[in-house]
């Protein structure tokens, strides 16, 4: 079928803004002594997170009889943590990352991620740096609130202590159809349905997540315990996610196993755990905070675009 979709979906002006944004990010990082690195997109191990699906491929080596099964990275997090453990100091990377099953107005199966790590920072200092990055780009400094405060304000329920049943009832009132919804699903639904659209459009940094949403963040044993994780929202979109990074290899191994157990229970493939990351954590990860930021979504905010297609040269449908 011959069609006119050989053309780019972004205008030249927006592609120029994209180039300018990448240049500004690199200058910002270099000026602060953060070293640009590149790590492999092909990986023997993979993300175990049950909500992130890796694309798989095969590598044939000339001297090997069997092909090696590999995954395309969904984020450069694990090899960058190995660089941190090897003592590289503050590092950043701008990388194309790949995620299966994701496509929509805000999603593409491949997108550009800015990921950076700051030894000696906690998540609050990293949030300060994100605010400075946004201000350098001409955006206002985002308001900061805890997950609990914004969740309570817009749902009337405490995300840490409300019984599952109360979350379930509220979710049903708001039109959730899900059999066997667990607590995380209910929190994700209520947050994306009622909180995200009501966060200040000019920007919000939400921090101190429920421990069930810790991912790779440290957990502080406060009352209630919270995960040292934050997310940046601009114009009602999730733009960045950051952690005060978990450095405990025993706890990390436990979370990988828990992820894979959840994968198995949902009928998803169990992923190969990154033993090299665990070995690096064993040898010692410097105390650090790190964040991942979606470059296309930030560009959407800067250009007032409504769809991710408007800020990439060729979306997946035209790739």
């Amino acid at each position: 079928m011959v069609s006119a979709d050989w053309r780019p979906s972004a205008t030249r002006d927006i592609l120029a803004r994209r180039a300018g944004l990448l240049c500004a990010i690199r200058t910002f990082m270099h000026d602060r002594g953060v070293l640009e690195v590149e790590t492999p997109a092909l990986s023997h191990a993979a993300a175990t997170d049950p909500n992130i699906q890796s694309l798989q491929s095969r590598v044939h080596l000339p001297q090997a009889s069997a092909a090696a099964e590999v995954c395309l990275h969904t984020s450069p997090e694990f090899p960058m943590k190995r660089l941190l453990a090897a003592g590289l100091g503050p590092i950043f990377q701008v990388a194309k990352v790949f995620r299966d099953h994701e496509c929509g107005p805000l999603h593409q199966p491949e997108f550009t991620m800015l990921e950076w790590y700051r030894p000696g920072f906690d998540h609050h200092r990293l949030m300060d740096e994100i605010a400075e990055l946004l201000q350098m780009l001409g955006l206002p400094a985002p308001a900061r609130s805890t997950y609990r405060d914004v969740f309570m304000r817009h749902t009337g329920l405490c995300p840490h202590t409300a019984p599952d049943e109360a979350l379930q009832n509220r979710a049903a009132e708001l039109g959730l159809v899900a059999s066997g919804a667990d607590r995380n699903l209910l929190l994700d639904f209520l947050f994306s349905r009622t909180v995200t659209p009501r966060l200040p459009a000019s920007g919000a940094l939400v921090y101190a997540y429920p421990v069930s949403q810790a991912a790779l963040a440290r957990i502080v044993p406060s009352l209630p315990p919270v995960a040292e994780r934050f997310e940046l929202f601009l114009s009602g979109m999730e733009i960045a996610n950051g952690f005060h990074e978990l450095g405990d290899s025993v706890e990390q191994r436990r979370r990988f196993a828990a992820d894979n157990a959840r994968r198995a229970s949902r009928g998803l493939p169990v992923m190969p755990v990154d033993e090299r990351l665990l070995a690096a954590l064993d040898s010692g990860l410097p105390d650090c905070a790190g964040a991942a930021l979606g470059v296309e979504r930030l560009l959407m905010v800067l250009t007032g675009s409504k769809r991710i297609d408007e800020v990439v040269a060729f979306p997946f449908a035209r790739s």
């Binding site: 994701e102 929509g104 039109g175 159809v177 994700d188 639904f189 994306s192 999730e238």
Partner: protein, 189 residues
């Protein structure tokens, strides 16, 4: 009836929700970075026309609704039920008051009416968008009367009452848009 997974959702798909048939109007992929994916859909209840928003956990499956859109020809009303026929198969259908809704007031016979069948039974019948009907009763126009905005009520042979310009008289055939009840002009011929 087959069931559909959320990844088959698209506008126009007919599904069952809370025992009623619905049509999907919009389907949006929503996914928090570290969370599960959802399908946020706008759906229209095919019985009531009401539009709702529902969010499905991605991967859920939903029963499909056995809904068919076709055109049926209006035959007659027996005082209680309206009788229609499929002009292709000659199959006849009886339609009750609820499914007829406002359509009945525009029908005099033989019109082709867009109809939605659910499990083989007419669920909603609509009148054709445009009809030509004779005026059976209207007051004679009064010259210079502007108090009514230059319009007067007129009763049509099918039973509906519409506003017509003052110069229109009884016995004339006019064209009406049934979706708005608006007078469009004198029928030609």
């Amino acid at each position: 009836m087959s069931s559909y997974s959320t990844n088959e959702f698209k506008p126009g798909l007919k599904i069952m929700l809370d025992r009623d048939p619905y049509a999907i109007l919009e389907n949006e992929f929503v996914k928090p970075g570290k969370g599960q994916a959802f399908n946020r859909v706008k759906v229209r209840n095919l019985k009531t026309g009401r539009v709702l928003e529902r969010t499905f956990k991605s991967g859920e499956s939903v029963e499909g609704a056995d809904v068919v859109d076709l055109e049926l020809q209006y035959l007659y009303n027996d005082g209680e039920m309206w009788h229609f026929m499929d002009p292709k198969t000659y199959e006849q259908y009886m339609v009750g008051k609820t499914a007829m809704g406002d359509a009945a007031q525009w029908l005099k016979g033989e019109e082709l009416c867009p109809t939605t069948l659910w499990n083989g039974v007419p669920l909603v019948v609509a009148a054709p968008n445009f009809v030509a009907l004779k005026i059976t009763k209207t007051d004679p126009g009064v010259r210079g009367d502007t108090a009514t905005g230059g319009a007067k009520p007129a009763k049509l042979e099918s039973g509906a009452v519409v506003k017509v310009p003052l110069f229109i008289s009884e016995g004339e055939v006019i064209r009406v848009d049934t979706r708005t009840g608006e007078y469009l002009g004198r029928a030609k011929g």
